[in-house]
Symmetry: D3
């Protein structure tokens, strides 16, 4: 653990932290999450992808658009001008799960972790929305930051043993 709550000042007030003194650098973040569903539902999405790509195509657009709206949703996030945003899916047929992976880049003074996490979350929620008539017991899990580069704290990889 490397610090305290930077969003909370000495009086307990929430604030968007001052990054004016930081120097701009290229920032990258990758986040991912999973949605599990019934085997029948999974098959329908998978076939849809083979034939028309619909559910995942819409979820991809939703994820990308959400990365741009992150500052509107997460109260203390800095508004950012992203230079790249992409969402990819990995189908895991054996477990009837779909992984959404979101990669975001920016040149700026703050990291883009929240943008990547928000993009992955929106993509997974959109899959839920488009499949819920077939399965209401889908569950979203393992939503987390996979990696992060740039900025003072340097590189982070979730899988690595030690932080930074």
């Amino acid at each position: 653990m490397d610090g305290g709550f930077t969003h909370v000042d000495e009086n307990g007030n929430a604030r968007m932290v001052d990054v004016g003194g930081k120097s701009p650098s290229r920032r990258t973040a990758v986040a991912s999450g999973l949605i599990s569903m019934s085997a029948e539902c999974f098959a329908m999405v998978a076939e849809g992808r083979a034939k028309k790509g619909d559910v995942l195509g819409v979820a991809q657009v939703a994820g990308i658009m959400a990365t741009k709206r992150t500052g509107d949703l997460i109260p203390l996030c800095h508004p950012l001008c992203l230079t790249k945003s992409a969402v990819e899916f990995v189908l895991r047929p054996g477990e009837s799960r779909i992984e959404a992976r979101c990669t975001v880049e920016c040149e700026g003074k703050t990291g883009v972790e929240m943008e990547a996490l928000t993009g992955a979350a929106a993509a997974l929620l959109t899959i839920y929305d488009m499949c819920k008539a077939a399965d209401r017991r889908m569950v979203i899990s393992e939503l987390r930051l996979l990696e992060k580069r740039g900025g003072k704290s340097g590189e982070f990889r979730f899988e690595a043993g030690a932080d930074d």
Copy 2:
């Protein structure tokens, strides 16, 4: 499993499904999700709650506001005039996890599952944002629909054995 992909028409096109023929009724949905964190980070949030409520207070506002923006984020969701929206947290000290539970109500022609799920997701993402300086390995999981009432398909409870 009770149906097909209502968002996809016979030609594979995405569309916002026609609910004009449905009759309006009171709809309720409850969704929840968990965020797990290090014991140190959890203690900071828990103490913050005792003293000033800050992290969870901001996350609560973020979750409520997100329920109102659901139609902007999830491409094929109908825009709705919600009549109630609330977010609550349950601290689970033993496992260093926080549960966010979002309840949404509306009188209309479509369910409010997506609003409840989006609210819970935004609340959990906001906790991540406010604590990420202390712990970047937090993980969001078990984001799912707990229950749903109203509409033609009747009552749904995640825990129940059979659907509906």
Copy 3:
């Protein structure tokens, strides 16, 4: 004073209050506010109005659009489908002040006070924005609810002696 804090539940949590049990009725609210400025600045706006209406024309559009965004700005406001929204200005040359008056209507279960107040505020802030190169000491004041009709609590007029 006629009540407690309906946005705060018994545990101190913020929530968007449940209006599902209320019956819908026609709701009207009128709010107003003032902006005071230097005599030179006021003259420029007034002449602009006579000739091209520009500052006040833009402020009028800003106020109307803001009434529609109220639920996005005020965390615990219910999203509403307004049936009317209008902003008018009254020039008060003797005191170099401009009054913005915003009238909003809706058929629904909650009042539209916040929409009217937000519309008046946005109109006044837009006047500030468009005139600030000429005068940075403008002050917005007397922003308040003038009147309100509809709903269980009945009619309210700011000027009346007793509430409701």
Copy 4:
């Protein structure tokens, strides 16, 4: 021609017209528009559709989402809770043009013409965005209301000789 400028009051002020006295009914509107491009660019989109549907798939989502944002973009439009929104494309290979057709429905007190037109416009602009690296001379044209049903003024069809 059947009326005056309902958005402008007797003093020339813009306002969102009062529809509180209208009775709600089911409203439908269909709008369409065309984008013309080079033959090479058209072939790329058409093949993309056959194989992966990408350009048109993204444009379809953009059009649907824009119908929900119409009240945010068109200053005097009433905010509405749409009950249906769909965008379809017709490829016209002989003329290297793509037609976007947007259908919107709502039960309410105002028509949904602007939602349908805004959806078609956003879909066409998205095609422009995704193809502009291949052709910057694309032109959007014939954006118009094809038909409209519901409301006091009854049915309208662009192709019909007389209005209503």
Copy 5:
């Protein structure tokens, strides 16, 4: 024709293209479009302009505001901090048509074509909205990029014979 579909990667996935490696420069784009209407309707707008400027005044504000929202509407557009945005109208009485021309500037890594096109489109749609009670057969056409400066691809003028 100078390229392929930069929004589509090798697997057919949509993505917001990576512009992190581009160097920032001043970017300008001008777009225009036309709306044609009945002679009676055109006369009402034209007189309105002479007297109070209302329809075109509101449409101008709508166009400027839309240039700022482009990244929210067009899925793969980069969010940008515009440094200039303006909308002008040219009345063409002989043909009962109004031209909207939108000029946008930015210092950044991507062009501002979409912002200019979106601004012109929103201005024309707003004219439609404000005049539709008088004429539902208005048609928007010739919406296109007039010119573009800045960036690696250099200057573009629609009227020029060869691209760039």
Copy 6:
């Protein structure tokens, strides 16, 4: 008074002024405003603050989020990537008034006065919303720019005798 209406060009058209030629610098602005209420209502807020911070906590989040939305609300404001945003409250028990003070920073080509004013306004409106069941006669006043640093025009302090 130091200038004319920079938002209005020589023909009276509104436009977002061109700041492309300005050099970027660190900009700071502080704005404040007051809300007055009944003594009973003030006591409830004050006690709430002592115990759970609810009303002011929500208002603080609303104010910070509104600073990020300023370009969406004020038509001719440039969209900006803020580097800091904070809202603080000062309780004035003797006069039953609460002061909201909003501080905003940015590195850019335009000032952030409007962001600070919009943030203070949104915080005060949120207090109104959360207390209106207890007191509908609250009044917002003295909303103004307290100070401003950075940019060509240098430092401004409301209290100082001379401008700049």
